[in-house]
Amino acid sequence: MLQCLTLVTHNTASPNLVKLIPLVSIMLLMLSAFMMPLLKKKRHLFGLAGGALAILMVLSFVNVAYIYQNGGYYFDIGHFPAPFGISLRIGEIESLIALLFAIVDLMVTWYAYYSLEKEIKESRIAFFHTMNLLLLASLLGIVFTNDIFNGFVFLEVSTLAACGIIVVKDKKTNIKAGLKYLILSSLGSGLVLMGIAFIYSLSGHLSMDYIHEAMIANLDGKQNTILISVILFTVGLGIKGAMFPLHIWLPDAHASAPSPSSAILSALVIKAPVIFLIKVFYRVYGTQIIHETVILDLVLMFGVMGMIFGSLFARSQKELKRMIAYSSVAQMGYIFFAIGLGNTLGVVMAIYHIVAHALTKSSLFLAAGSFIEQTGFKHIEDFRGIGKEMPVTLGIFTVSGLSMIGIPVLPGFISKWNLAMASIQIDKLYLLIFLLISSLLNASYYFPIIINGYFGEENLDGKVFLSKSKPIKQLLPLIILTVLMVLVGFFSGNLIEFIERGVYTV
């Protein structure tokens, strides 16, 4: 039951510098986060944040390149080997997700440089960056960690930091949304902690590999305990990952936060717990145990419900950002659907969709943020004819929307296609219907915005061409995200292959 990693034994004689990258990334982010309050000027703040993120991006890229060549590795923090010390496990998936997070966060910070002070007070900018970097550090921690308790700690940090970037706007609705998020998230973390307690009492370990071995060794008669613990994990992480009936905090939080925060929340914050959940399923419990429980079927069911109801709710929204937020619920439904399928392709597609959705949704939120910033409107009705005033931005919105709808070669289509293949593999043909209904529903709320934005005599009446367009340097982060998204679609074959190499044994 060993992992498909090339396990590199500890070699103190010639420490491999690349293996320091995960720890260095987290430390770098935390250090810069705590240096933020010392700085005053906006340029310095953004310089530090951008610099740290740029370094992080380069490091993550090196890491991915190294892992592409040599395979994954373990890293023991402080040279204490695993059962006693904390270890990080970095495989193909972890490194890829780290790179994704770094890129998205860097682009969001770039975007925020031009627009953040329009949404929040200038004195709050330092606070925003502190929280943002801290958040990213904790999310990377969740992704990298091989120690389940360590994961919990990072989870708590991420909750607080995410709460910080929601309330940074100092509005009543933000405080309300922040509190809602805080309460529900703490509930989720509490459940995760209980799950850890159950597992610890079963196995006596906190390190994922050791728990797994111990559980396999004495499985008999403990099915109920296992079931309870796995449900605790699923519900706890499901709250943080916006699994359908537990998503209620998400629309408020995502819609009320400043646009850069919304992008980070949608692209990163709800993704890391899902990675953690996948790790818990397949690295802590393992395929054998997890397939004996009903949990995968439940996740599948909630995923399907999320896909359908998330879109139905999105349809009925009047505010643009709330609509996009509900669309996130639907897209998380796809990810849970993929996990719930329970075969290798399913898990691979869950990771792929995490990558695809992070890029798509962040550019959607930033595009929506630009509309709101330039026009001052919030409601979908008011964005008629926006395509004449801001053609490029609506173009970006359109490409992202088309990906959600599932136009071929864009990542949304690739996800749907492979999910369908995975469903056929396990002989659940009826699932195809849900996949397709959900993509039609996606079309039903993205298309009206696009069509009314670009066309229609009444809509375009009185609008001046390019009158509200942003300069190119402000649009560039959106364009880069969109280009990356399209590339993720075009090179989906290579990407899926890479993920497949590192996927936890299913």
């Binding site: 071929p408 039609l440 069509i451 229609g456 005599e457 090179f491």
Partner: protein, 579 residues
């Protein structure tokens, strides 16, 4: 180089579009010239890549067996791309004349040329994945053309169009998913890729796959429960309607169906799956219902739209017969119907362009004013009914042969019945225009005059105001166009039409009368006494840009009817690929 030569037809329209979009590079004056150059170069490139290029297959991007953008040239590609690119040239020249009075030329021509690129993509696709991709793009590129008038009604129709199209595309994906799960391959091959041995154990999956894809592509081919987007799409400018009906949208649906049936599944497999029995009822209903609904449409374009639905049913019937003769008939009808329908639409567009008439009851006696145009219409109508020596007869003949080959007399009866209906809805248009006098309306005018005062009081002020404004504008336009020739009669007719456009429902009657009187008064004052007598027919033939394509197409209709052998031989290769 050969690679480039082959995919040139896919690139040329895109390059043209890039020029057209650019305001700085191409001024409004040169817009049409660029469009003309683009479509003509494209036609040349199509001919070059189809007949003078050795390379017939090229992978643009091959990531794995599934994600594979692949173009291939075979006989079916040749048929469809030649048809599309040549009709595009004609439509372009027609559109230059027609679009004079429309707005937003640049937007129109942008999507007009872009759609050509997409259609070429559909024709050149070498596997189902590429075809599907272009099929989705087709919806997206034609949508701006359909909603080009920009009115609320147009947007509504566009919405309907996109809902139906995406619904259909979704069914297609469903079918593709099931197909790919069985075969792991989606490229088009002669005789199909689904081996008979694959059926064992996958019968249900393949069956559902075929049904889903047929119904999915059937949406674009206006199969009956999914047809209602087509009449609604008539809000588009006429060149667009003509293209939508002749090649662009509905024919790409039919083309995809031929690809799927004969080049993915293969005749033997479809026969073994025994799926046609579920689909035939749809097709038969399509044929009969389309023509029955066409019978009572007063709106000219809508009548033609329902006629298209019925005629597409013929083609689908031919495809589903699964016999060489049936397929030959279907392919012939694909071409013939394209040529015929585009002619009919061009004529209707010419009428609307010259007189602003849109309804059949308005065109009484117009044959005297537009004799050449209406004669072309009549020839096309006769051809669609299927009377020799026109091309419509040839395709129906082969469809009938196909039905005989499978020994099904019901189909022959349906073909004949529908031909009867076709005559019933098309010929009255010719008859009305040539033989029904337009004078009956004149006698009513005195009556109108008498009631003018009372009606004036009753009419809704705001409606009258707007209508009057519109009418005056229109009159001035017409007055400019036909300075000396235009007499009393034209002005009268124009106003009549304006009313139909502007004034609806309750306001209709009052505004109608008010306007008529005012128009009469206006004409009297402008022309002095000259307007009082107006019995002589006036020549209203459309400008050359519109007339020449119509005449050329009519010649083609008759030509294809008299010398069908060339085209049958050309299609023979497709039949060999399929059987």
């Amino acid at each position: 180089m050969e690679k480039l030569g082959m995919i040139l037809p896919l690139l040329v329209p895109i390059i043209g579009t890039l020029f057209i979009v650019n305001k700085r590079l191409i001024s409004d004056k040169n817009l049409t010239k660029v469009v003309a150059v683009t479509v003509i170069i494209n036609f040349v490139c199509v001919v070059y890549s189809l007949f003078f290029n050795d390379l017939t297959a090229v992978h643009i991007l091959k990531v794995n067996a599934f994600l594979d953008i692949y173009f291939k040239v075979d006989q079916l590609t040749r048929v469809f791309s030649l048809l599309a690119s040549s009709l595009w040239v004609l439509t372009a020249f027609y559109a230059f004349a027609y679009m004079d009075h429309e707005k937003r030329h640049r937007q129109f021509y942008t999507f007009f040329t872009l759609t050509l690129a997409v259609i070429m993509g559909v024709a050149y696709s070498g596997n189902l994945f590429t075809l599907y991709g272009y099929y989705e793009l087709l919806t997206l590129c034609t949508l701006p053309l359909v909603i080009h008038p920009g009115t609320a009604e147009a947007l509504q129709s566009g919405k309907k169009y996109i809902i139906y199209s995406f619904g259909g595309a979704t069914l297609v994906v469903l079918g593709m998913m099931m197909l790919y799960a069985v075969t792991g391959d989606m490229s088009f091959m002669a005789h199909g890729i689904v081996d008979l041995s694959l059926i064992e154990g996958n019968r249900d999956l393949l069956k559902w796959s075929y049904l889903a894809m047929f119904l999915g592509f059937g949406v674009k081919a206006a199969l009956v429960p999914f047809h209602s987007w087509l009449p609604n799409a008539m809000v588009a400018p006429t060149p667009v309607s003509a293209l939508l009906h002749a090649v662009a949208v509905v024919k790409s649906g039919v083309f995809s169906l031929i690809r799927m049936t004969y080049f993915i599944f293969g005749t033997q497999t479809v026969l073994a799956l025994d799926v046609t029995k579920y689909l035939m009822p749809f097709v038969v209903v399509t044929i009969v219902m389309g023509s029955l609904l066409a019978l009572h449409q007063d709106h000219l374009k809508r009548r033609l739209a329902y006629s298209t639905i019925s005629q597409l049913g013929y083609i689908l019937l031919g495809i589903l017969m699964l016999t060489p003769n049936g397929l030959l008939g279907a392919m012939l009808h694909l071409i013939n119907h394209a040529v015929i329908k585009i002619t009919l639409f061009f004529v209707v567009g010419a009428i609307t362009h010259m007189t602003h008439f849109k309804y059949i009851h308005q065109i009484r006696g117009i044959g005297k004013q537009m004799p050449i145009t209406m004669i072309c219409f009549t020839v096309a109508a006769i051809s669609l009914v299927g009377i020799p020596p026109t091309n419509g007869f040839v395709s129906k003949w082969f469809l009938g042969l196909g039905a005989l080959n499978i020994g099904n007399f019901l189909y022959i009866i349906i073909l004949l019945l529908s031909a009867f209906f076709t005559a019933g809805y098309l010929l009255p248009i010719s008859v009305t225009s040539f033989f029904v006098s337009s004078k009956s309306e004149f006698h009513e005018r005195d009556g109108y005059q008498a009631h003018y005062e009372t009606l004036h009081e009753m009419s809704d002020d705001s409606v009258r105001e707007t209508t009057r404004e519109m009418a005056n504008d229109m009159i001035h336009e017409v007055a400019h166009e036909a300075t000396h020739e235009a007499t009393h009669e034209t002005a009268h007719e124009t106003a009549n039409d304006t009313i139909h456009e502007m004034a609806n429902d309750t306001a209709h009657d009052t505004a109608h009368n008010t306007l008529r009187n005012e128009t009469v008064a206006a004409r009297h004052s402008e022309d002095g006494e000259a307007g009082a007598t107006g019995a002589k027919p006036i020549k209203l033939e459309p400008p050359k840009g519109m007339l020449y394509p119509i005449v050329l197409l009519t010649v083609i209709i008759v030509g294809l009817g008299i010398f069908p052998n060339t085209i049958i031989n050309f299609l023979g290769v497709v039949i060999q690929d399929a059987f």
